[in-house]
């Protein structure tokens, strides 16, 4: 990892998630948490200690976990269903489809340790298909916050949102990108950095890497806009169309397979909505099961180090008219 970021400034966004959930839980007795023996990895011990009967740990049973969440919502509760993202979305996908999306239940699906966060544990534990799977379902917004501040804002938003959603969190440390008073708006991208030659679109752990890449590009005289696109569905069409029109090239960066995720969603908008198509490059996991390595190692390996992103931009700009 060659990003010039000091380790001390990195934050595990799970801490912001549970701190916010505990605050919301204190104010609203209907907020409950459901998990699959993941009290530790979801960092729910504090919530459990404060509200013992409102932490429903169903054991290692993800299908039941999501169904229980839907039933709790039917009974007027606001369940945050928390589990490692690969098992929440992979094992219980049909429950997410039928019990949450199709039934339109007020279930907050919280995928912990998403993307490549479990690095060395291998591809069974990687959740690099979840954008694609959940994005294909109606009624369930798909959201990947980029830092601890946006994570807290997203959790607060989710508690007040009447409907299901999928919140994709990581455990990999990221620095602050937003100001403390940031409020999350569904389907609204945030311009993290202004620029005119190219737009980098990222979310989750990739946003700060994109910001660092923009620094590297700036040193070479390339002005890169950085859009934080936390909401993958509903996607911010207007921001993408503006980016295409105003910067003429787009590079997407995501901790996800390039098949069906953020890059695909952006490309769909470019194809469907832009009067003039623009060159695009989708960075992500290139349709393989990842080799052994930490999340940060793998992101670098797949061309998403800040330098790798910058190099992709330089290559792409050769195709720009």
């Amino acid at each position: 990892m060659n990003a010039p970021v000091e380790p001390a400034k990195m934050h595990d966004c799970r801490d912001a998630f549970v701190a916010t959930l505990e605050q919301l839980g204190a104010a609203n007795a209907d907020i409950v948490a459901v998990c699959n023996d993941s009290v530790g990895s979801s960092k729910l011990a504090g919530f459990r200690d404060k509200f013992p009967e409102r932490l429903i740990n169903v054991g290692i049973a993800e299908q039941n976990m999501v169904g229980v969440g839907a039933g709790l919502a039917n009974g007027g509760k606001i369940p945050f269903v928390c589990a490692a993202a690969p098992f929440l979305t992979g094992r219980a996908l049909e429950q997410i489809k039928a019990d949450v999306a199709y039934s339109e239940t007020n279930v907050k699906l919280v995928g912990i340790s998403s993307g490549l966060a479990y690095g060395e544990l291998g591809a069974t534990h990687h959740s690099i298909e979840d954008f694609a799977w959940i994005r294909a379902l109606p009624n369930v917004p798909v959201i990947a916050p980029a830092d601890r501040i946006e994570t807290a804002a997203v959790i607060e938003w989710a508690a007040g949102f009447e409907g299901g959603c999928f919140l994709r969190l990581s455990r990999v440390g990221v620095p602050d990108l937003f100001a403390e008073n940031h409020r999350f708006e569904l389907g609204r991208a945030n311009v993290l950095r202004k620029g005119s030659d190219v737009t980098l679109i990222a979310n989750g752990t990739l946003s700060y890497r994109a910001m660092t890449a923009a620094d590297l590009l700036d040193a070479k005289g390339i002005s890169a806009r950085v859009l934080n696109m936390a909401t993958v569905r509903p996607i911010d069409t207007e921001a993408i169309v503006s980016a295409a029109a105003e910067t003429g090239a787009i590079v997407t960066c995501e901790e996800h397979t390039v098949f069906g995720g953020l890059g695909s969603a952006v490309a769909e908008v470019v194809v469907d909505e832009c009067p003039v198509p623009v060159p695009m490059k989708r960075l992500g996991v290139p349709g393989v099961f990842a080799p052994t390595g930490s999340a940060n190692f793998l992101l670098d390996e797949f061309g998403m180090s800040p330098q790798g992103i910058a190099d992709s931009v330089t290559d792409l700009l050769k195709r720009k008219r």
Binding site: V32, E53, R54, I56, V58, G59, A61, Q63, N64, M65, V66, G67, V68, G69, A70, G71, L72, A73, N74, G75, G76, K77, P79, E94, Q95, A98, D99, Y102, S103, E104, T105
Partner: protein, 273 residues
Amino acid sequence: MNTHDLRVIANRVRRRDLQAVFEAGAGHIGGELSVTDLLTALYFKIMSVDPANPRAPERDRLVLSKGHTALALYVVLAEKGFIPKDEIATFLKPHSRLNGHPNRTKVPGVETNTGPLGHGLPVGVGMATAAKLNRANWRTFVITGDGEMQEGSNWEAIMSAAQLKLDNLTLIIDHNRLQQGARLADTNDLAPLAPKLAAFGWDVQEIDGHNMDQICAVLDAGQIVTGKPKCIVAHTNKGHGVSFMSDNVAWHHKVPNEEQYNQAMTELKEAAP
């Protein structure tokens, strides 16, 4: 309502169901005829529900996990006043609210969308847990098919319900011994079901699922065992009430021709209490 009147309603539901399957040219007549008595007892004797306020927070909940028998539920909901009776004629027609599996966002009285098997019981566990958290007295009922109990998600939920001591949850297994393609015994034989549920910590009772007196007695709130979820193994017949359909695997979702329809309707009319 006394059990004679319940039998009258159940007979009427069977006839309307049969007519709708015949007219729509589709349906799951076998499983609909096996579950009709259970649904009738629940909606007209046991459950506290209000068609004028289908989302009343304190209502009892029913989840028809064997969602492919939605038509029987629709007819019962129409009898109860949740939807207009003449709407049954739209079953499976383009843009009808009444598609092949129940949809809570479209049909008042439906609690969750079912269809893929093994979904209803986990949702029921969540409902019953919500009632416990709310210190509320409403009850949750889930009806599964017996073949459906082959889905592993049911057993995840069975473990949870016992662990959570959900005595406000009742699982009714419509044990008609037949699944879509064959007898359970020839596929993945779960019978006997009762000792399996008992081993998981449930209070289990077995009844004749077509005997209205037994159905009403076993579902009475006075039968609740504190701290234990209840399972009722309802011994039923697929196609019950029509001689040539009863206990015949061919009638999972077969549609009667006109001659069969007339014969079936005649048998049901003659059996009317």
